[in-house]
């Protein structure tokens, strides 16, 4: 379902070339819940961004649902992002001027759904994250944990097959982090494939499969090594 082969990503600035990913190969099957761990700067976010079609790779092949992603134009890539992929970011990234309802509405608007269908989906997904009563609130009126739940609702409203989460609990305390993980497990049990980047191994353990990234590559290194590296 997701298949990356020898993907590399090089960031070029005037003076330096950074190899964020090198010959990165990974296959994720439908319905998996994969955690990605690794030291800071190892290329986790870069991998997630390429997987989510937010960035283009420098070389290699990437197939999503059997489709070669490198052949898609901007409109098609936008459509894949909109329909197949849901994103959850560490910093929530809600739009501060819009209320909760309108924030969840954003991806549905680009989907071109009618008003009734959008309303149904927004209410359903906010209900799932337990915030059905906060439709008219502004993001700033909610706690961090609640904001992240809105972001999850936004990702779910489009009924994606993939959920990509980049350190979704990084800005939350342990208790809130746990409840977000509960939510992700529930979503996964409904059949959504999840790839979650984290550097907290206790959270990573709750995924069905763990992979480790170092220097832009998937490594065979044992968790003990990482445990040591993380200190």
């Amino acid at each position: 379902m997701l298949k990356m082969t020898d993907v590399s990503k090089i960031y070029r600035t005037d003076t330096v070339e950074t190899h964020a990913l090198r010959e990165f190969s990974l296959t994720v099957d439908e319905g998996e819940f994969v955690s990605v761990t690794g030291p800071s700067g190892s290329g986790k976010t870069t991998f997630l961004n390429i997987a989510g079609l937010l960035e283009e790779m420098t070389s290699g092949t990437y197939e999503l649902d059997g489709r070669d992603i490198s052949k898609l134009n901007d409109r098609e890539r936008s459509r894949v992002r909109n329909e197949k992929i849901g994103f959850i970011f560490q910093s929530f990234n809600l739009i501060p001027e819009l209320n909760i309802f309108d924030n969840v509405d954003v991806p549905l608007r680009y989907r071109g759904l009618n008003a009734a269908e959008r309303k149904r989906r927004i209410e359903e997904s906010l209900d799932m994250v337990g915030l059905a009563s906060r439709l008219k609130h502004q993001p700033a009126q909610l706690s961090g944990g609640q904001q992240q739940r809105v972001a999850i609702a936004r990702a779910l409203a489009g009924e994606p097959r993939f959920l990509l989460a980049d350190e979704p609990t990084g800005n939350l305390d342990t208790h809130m982090a746990d409840s977000v993980l509960d939510l992700l497990s529930e979503i996964n049990s409904n059949g959504v494939t999840i790839i979650m980047v984290t550097h907290e191994l206790t959270l990573a353990d709750r995924a069905k499969r763990n992979i480790f990234v170092r220097d832009g590559q998937v490594t065979d290194a044992a968790p003990e090594f990482l445990r040591a590296a993380n200190g």
Partner: protein
């Protein structure tokens, strides 16, 4: 999607009130400068009698010198000799025809304590009023008999009637000018064509004359001409008879031509007339008769001043400067919103939908700038009117009609969209992930 973009545009404008206000102001000021000058130019050249202008034709025929053609041969003279005017008038080959010239008069008030004063006058034929749809408040034009028998009858303007008779119905009353006493047969209602098209020899935008009287009467009593007189050879003798017989041009001649057939017919008549005059030793130049209508006549007489075009050019430059400013402001706005843009891209907005969103926002700024621009244009025109209020005609030229109002908004929207192109393109270049990374 359009409604969604409108909503986003409104949100964004509200979220950046100062920046948005600056953009609206920049556009409004540029539009105001442009539209003020353009309105004046538009009014200067606007058709004073649109419903009938194609039927009203000035007669042109080339009576000029072969050695030194009129206007280098580009067009026949713009007035007629007395000989030709008299002949064409007598021939009555058109539905209506008038020979006319401007002639200032001195009113001698009945009250001996009141001082005489000058007014502008026009010698013309009775058809003048019907041809040019001149509105009457009291009475009517004089009749054909008055033209024939050189009667002392007159039609006076509304302002003169106000001055002499306090605005009352003055038909039947008398007015004495330069020793001749005229009976008033008609009083005009308000009549102020933007362009005094029937005689463009002097100021094309001056008010219509104060008094009108028969051409025949003016000729019989040797009234002088206040317009232009041009001669390519001197009259043969110094007296008035010699002048009237000369090749000097000084009379405006208009005919009413209802349709194509009438035009052909009248043209044939003119050609035959000129051929006949050639046999008498006149009209040395090749046959070149023309019947320009009112609009063609205004273009030929360059009613729109070149100076105004230069001013308009400057105003357009000013608008461009304002737009460059707007581009800068829009860029600043885009730069402030890269995070929002890349988030929307991540959530599935294509470049095309972002383009739509930003262009519609710019369009909204444009509409606001246009509405405010109507206000600034109005102020600009008011300023010009006050600055030049010693000229009567300025008032007519500083009026914003619905066309100019609509144009102000359209120009503002087009300007805003043009200014938005580059910033919007920049917005579309923001990559989906770039602003979402933290670290």
């Amino acid at each position: 999607m359009f409604r969604y973009y409108l909503k986003l545009g409104a949100l964004s404008i509200r979220a950046n009130p100062a920046l948005s206000a600056l953009m609206v102001a920049a556009i409004a000021i540029g539009i105001g400068a442009c539209m003020t000058i353009f309105t004046i130019q538009h009014m200067m050249g606007s058709n004073p009698i649109p419903h009938k202008s194609e039927q009203l034709r000035h007669v042109q025929m080339d009576s000029w010198s072969d050695a030194n053609p009129y206007n280098g041969g580009a067009n026949p003279p713009i007035q007629l000799t007395y000989t030709d005017a008299r002949n064409l008038l007598a021939a009555e080959q058109a539905v209506r025809q008038i020979a006319t010239f401007k002639s200032g008069r001195i009113v001698e008030p009945e009250d001996p304590d009141e001082l005489p004063y000058t007014i502008s006058g026009r010698a013309t034929s009775k058809d003048f009023f019907a041809m040019f749809d001149v509105p009457f408040k009291y009475g009517s034009a004089w009749d054909a008999a008055a033209d024939l028998s050189e009667e002392f009858v007159a039609v006076i303007s509304e302002p003169l009637n106000e001055r002499m008779f306090g605005g009352e119905d003055s038909t039947g009353k008398r007015v004495t000018m330069n020793g001749d006493t005229f009976r008033i047969v008609g009083v005009l209602d308000t009549w102020s064509p933007v362009v005094k098209f029937y005689d463009l020899n002097n100021n094309a935008h001056e008010p219509v004359e104060d008094i009108f009287f028969p051409f025949s009467t003016a000729m019989a009593n040797e009234y002088g001409n206040d317009g232009n007189t041009n001669c390519w050879k001197p009259p043969e003798g110094g007296d008035r008879a010699a002048f009237l017989n000369s090749e000097c041009i000084w009379i405006q001649f208009w005919v009413e031509i209802p349709n194509q057939a009438a035009e052909t017919e009248y043209m044939n008549y003119l050609d035959a007339y000129v051929e006949q005059q050639k046999e008498l030793g006149r009209f040395p130049r090749p046959l070149d008769n023309r019947l320009p209508d009112v609009e063609e006549w205004m273009i030929l007489n360059e009613v729109v001043d070149d100076d105004v075009s230069v001013l308009l050019g400057l105003a357009v430059l000013f608008l461009i400067v304002c737009l460059l400013n707007t581009i800068g402001l829009l860029l600043a706005k885009v730069m402030r919103r890269t995070k929002d843009i890349s988030l929307r891209r991540a959530l599935g907005a294509s470049k095309a939908s972002l383009f739509g969103q930003y262009i519609i926002e710019a369009g909204m700024i444009g509409v606001a700038g246009g509405l405010l621009g109507i206000g600034t244009t109005w102020l600009g025109l008011l300023g010009i009117r006050n600055l030049f209020n010693r000229f009567d005609f300025v008032e007519k030229l500083t009026v914003m009609d619905w066309q100019m109002t609509a144009l102000a908004i359209a120009l503002a929207v087009v300007s805003a969209l043009a200014a938005a192109l580059y910033p919007t393109w920049r917005a579309c270049q923001v990559t989906p992930a770039s602003q979402l990374r933290i670290q």
